[in-house]
């Protein structure tokens, strides 16, 4: 550690801004200390402090001229790297009908940050983990984040809302910065934490710090910890929260919560986003725009027009159990860094520390799955590729199968899905119902503007496609024993390619039984193809309809009525796709027929936008349905399955 005069900040500013870097640091603006671009040392909040309490923030004059004598303000480095609103790509329909998708790249702007607290450095690490070290890497975030110089500040004067010492992220800057500063009157104690930091420090006028300087900093950090506000008991917090999903406190806090999204917006780690189509008036071109979103909006969880989380209590539960619970299973750390922003900027004055204590006022614990390591991130621009319709098969009144010529499906596994899109209309997840070389099939029901338009496509026309995404059916685990396949309605689509492969491999799949239920005989998908399977030895088809026609001679009634010990066989493994209610009854019927939960796989559905685990919308407890699913072994999701508002 080195000792310098505080006047060396002038030199540090020069060095940080070298080569045209934008310097971003704390400054007084609009009645708060915000994090914004500054050029001169005088723009630091010299002589200011912030006094914070739940839902209140005030600036006050200090009795000294400290430059870093404040805590964290309303914004953070998040907005610099994860833009509040940004264009992902432009989509256009050219005069000849061909489509084009052009990625929008953020302009490279090198940045230097100064005055970043340990809590916010931790937040940057948390977001780096989400956007750069998950299964998919976000290039927009990466472009903004790369090559950032970071000058941290040890936090000597925490506020009453701070709890970084509880979360283990502060007050001392120990990683994630090039330099760490401590302000002591007109002196600075400076530590280099990286080679770049060493190089910066070498250009300052500084002398080696003494043992008493080290002791002063240690004492200052101890004093800082002692001055923090209410502590949070973080031991097994994620497991204690997940054991209390039905806690009456959720309804109570919902009576005070405004569901306004302020907490998630000011949170330096919250990463949920929405993606919307901004089309030009002529309808020929559009921009795909990504914007900050929040689990407190209704739209965040909307699936087929209905919100999974309609009640404020369900949204509050999603937020707090994700931030302090599921996050651990997803990213191997808490999503909270103890910065206190969600308390200060809550218009309803809710203190998350009180809520955590109230929600975990018992000894219950529910284990969560451990975080999946991810060694090989792949870049995901979210920009569609152009695909062409080869042929169109009408399966029933409102269901069509599109056969597409599309690149990039070499690694496809049955059960995976694609994101299909049309310029100016939008994008939706559609399961892949078959693959044959460079041609892939998608079976689509017309239920909205996009699926209507997709169903009207003709051979030769183009569309956008991303994928394949997600985890498919565990064919290798199914091989060797009897396999039961249960499908409801269009739920047969994501099972079809799995069925084809099992039928084509009678050596490994000797006993295959398909139970298929549809509304009417006309709604049975792939009827001709299924008739071809019936002759295959070891294959049995049990089809049923809700409403029979005059010529129907098969079963009538729900598909679960066909699942009996004699039709299923207790050694079977089962894969299911259909509406959640149908799957729930199916799982129960299978259990009665002797097939336990750990030999059953289901496919889950939640609101998906990005399909890569980066938009946060399709969460199901500790999972992202898009990348951890959509296929789950039932015991993985059993505790969440069918539960209201999860």
């Amino acid at each position: 550690m080195m000792l310098a005069r505080r006047a060396q900040l002038e030199r540090l500013f020069e060095l940080a801004r070298e080569g045209g870097r934008a310097l971003i640091g704390p400054t007084v603006r609009d009645g708060a200390i915000v994090f914004a671009e500054i050029e001169r040392v005088e723009q630091l909040p010299i002589g200011w402090r912030d006094v914070q309490s739940p839902g209140k923030y005030r600036l006050e004059r200090r009795s000294d001229d400290a430059a870093f004598g404040h805590v964290v303000g309303p914004n953070s480095a998040k907005e610099l790297f994860f833009a509040p609103s940004e264009t992902l790509y432009r989509a256009e329909r050219r005069p000849d009908g061909k489509l084009g998708f052009t990625a929008h790249k953020p302009p490279p702007t090198a940045k230097a940050l100064i005055g970043v607290r340990a809590c916010d450095l931790a937040a940057m690490r948390v977001q780096d983990r989400v956007f750069e070290r998950s299964q998919f890497r976000d290039p927009q975030y990466g472009a903004r984040r790369a090559d950032t110089v970071v000058i941290g500040v040890h936090c000597t004067e925490p506020g009453s809302l701070c709890f970084c010492s509880s979360m283990g992220t502060g007050p001392r800057v120990t990683e994630g910065a090039d330099l760490a500063l401590a302000e002591r009157g007109d002196e600075l104690l400076v530590d280099a934490l990286s080679p770049r930091g060493e190089a910066l420090l070498a250009q300052l006028e500084a002398t080696e710090a003494s043992a008493s300087d080290h002791a002063w900093l240690d004492a200052a950090m101890d004093a800082s910890r002692a001055r923090m506000g209410t502590a949070v008991d973080v031991r097994d917090l994620h497991e204690r929260l997940y054991a209390n999903l039905d806690h009456p406190r959720f309804a109570e806090v919902a009576s005070r919560c405004l569901s306004c999204s302020s907490c998630t917006s000011v949170c330096p780690t919250c990463f949920c986003s929405n993606a919307v189509e901004r089309s030009d008036l002529d309808g020929a071109a559009s921009s795909r725009v990504r914007e900050w979103d929040s689990c407190f909006t209704r739209e965040h969880s909307t699936l087929h027009g209905h919100a999974v989380r309609e009640q404020t209590s369900e949204r509050y539960r999603q937020w707090i159990t994700h931030k302090f619970g599921a996050w651990v299973a997803q990213f191997d750390s808490s999503g909270c860094t103890g910065c206190g922003r969600c308390i200060a900027w809550c218009p309803a004055q809710i203190d998350v520390r009180e809520e955590l204590a109230a929600l975990t006022n018992n000894d219950r614990r529910t284990p969560l799955p451990s975080a999946r390591s991810c060694d090989a991130s792949q870049d995901e621009t979210l920009v569609p590729r152009v695909a062409e319709v080869v042929s169109v098969a009408r399966e029933s009144g409102d269901v069509v199968t599109l056969r597409l010529r599309a690149e990039g499906f070499e690694s496809f596994a049955p059960g995976q899905f694609s994101q299909l899109s049309l310029p100016a209309i939008g994008e939706a997840p559609i399961s892949i119902s078959g693959r044959d070389g460079a041609e892939v099939e998608h079976t689509i029901r017309a239920v909205g503007a996009l699926t209507d338009a997709l169903c009207k496509l003709e051979p030769g026309e183009q569309l956008g496609v991303r994928g394949p995404y997600g985890r498919g059916w565990p064919l290798d685990e199914l091989a060797g024993g009897p396999v039961v396949v249960v499908a409801g309605g269009i739920g047969l689509a994501p099972l079809r390619e799995a069925l084809r492969r099992m039928i084509a491999d009678p050596a490994r799949f000797t006993d295959l039984r398909l139970f298929y239920g549809a509304r009417t005989p006309d709604d049975l998908l792939y009827a001709r193809e299924m008739l071809g399977w019936v002759d295959r030895p070891g294959f049995r088809l049990y089809a049923t309809v809700d409403r029979a026609s005059a010529t129907w001679r098969g079963h009538v009634g729900v598909v679960t009525r066909l699942l009996k010990r004699e039709t299923v066989g207790d050694r079977a493994r089962a894969i299911i796709c259909g509406p959640e209610t149908m799957m729930r009854f199916t799982v129960d019927a299978l259990a009665r027929a002797g097939v336990p939960h750990d030999r059953v796989w289901v496919t889950m559905e939640r609101h998906m936008k990005c399909a890569t685990g980066l938009c946060g919308r399709c969460q199901l407890g500790p999972y992202f349905v898009c990348k951890d699913g959509p296929v789950f072994r039932f015991d993985e999701v059993a505790s969440l399955f069918g539960r209201q508002g999860i």
Binding site: E79, S259, S261, S262, S265, V276, R278, E299
Partner: protein
């Protein structure tokens, strides 16, 4: 190519400000005129077609007088899509402040010759009388949202207008919360966004002109205002503004009366 879709712009009880938003689209209005036939828009042109049929009808204003009810039903019958624009058409407007009061007394107090006034007891939103395909909020409406609704209807998709709080717009813009930093009684947390946080951008509290958002726990916000010292009479006024006729704001306002 088919004929262009026909657009009609109508007004009931209103100040014309929302129609002015359409006029104020300037260049975009010219682009719009390329895509649609603006068949009836008295605010913009004396060449009108009040009795024709329309692919899209934009209706401004509330139903405040008996003749407006007949006119509205006629518009609905002749329009494939009916979009209401603005606080009057979607919540009854500022004129809904008379609802539940003695209208006759108002008329006699205000007008020199009250016998010429023909009015309904209440000012009501269009959706109280006919089916509405889409509601566009605001006093006045936002130009970008208007263009988005028209564009989406032309393309055949759902408009990308999100029912979320003004807070999210503030936060995306980097506006420092006026309620937190100085107890300014801002309705943003319970108000439908779409204005791009216009008032907070100018360091003022939101007064709710876009009406309540989908989940508008007004009592939790009123409780905050009360903790900051707001007296009941002021709470009544705060929620009884331009969109005071909207249910969430009306019940909150009534609760403090």
């Amino acid at each position: 190519m088919n004929a262009k879709p026909r657009l009609g712009v109508f007004k009931l009880a209103s100040c014309d400000g929302c129609q002015l938003t359409l006029l104020g689209c300037e260049d975009a209005l010219l682009a719009l005129a390329e895509r649609v036939e603006i068949a009836h828009f008295p605010e913009a042109s004396s060449r009108t077609d009040a009795h024709g049929t329309f692919d899209v009808a934009l209706v401004e204003g509330s139903v405040s007088a008996p003749f407006q009810l007949d006119e509205l039903r006629s518009i609905r019958a002749r329009s494939k899509r009916l979009v209401t624009i603005g606080a009057c058409a979607t919540a009854g407007g500022v004129q809904a402040l008379r609802n539940g009061r003695d209208v006759r007394e108002f008329i006699e107090t205000v007008y020199a010759s009250p016998e010429y006034i023909s009015t309904l007891d209440a000012s009501t939103p269009v959706s109280a009388h006919v089916a509405v395909d889409y509601e566009l909020r605001g006093c006045p409406i936002d130009k970008q949202q208007l263009l988005e609704v028209i564009t989406a209807l032309l393309v055949g998709r759902r408009p990308e207008i999100r029912d979320e709080s003004v807070c999210l717009e503030c936060k995306r813009k980097g506006i420092v919360c006026v309620l937190v930093k100085r107890d300014e009684p801002c309705l943003g947390p319970v108000t439908h966004g779409g204005c791009d946080a216009l008032c907070p951008t100018f360091d003022r509290g939101c007064y709710g002109c876009f009406g309540p958002k989908e989940r508008a726990p007004t009592s939790a916000l009123a409780a905050r205002f009360a903790r900051d010292g707001m007296v009941p009479v002021e709470l009544v006024r705060r929620f009884r503004g331009i969109t005071g006729g909207a249910e969430a704001f009306r019940t909150e306002s009534d609760r403090h009366e």
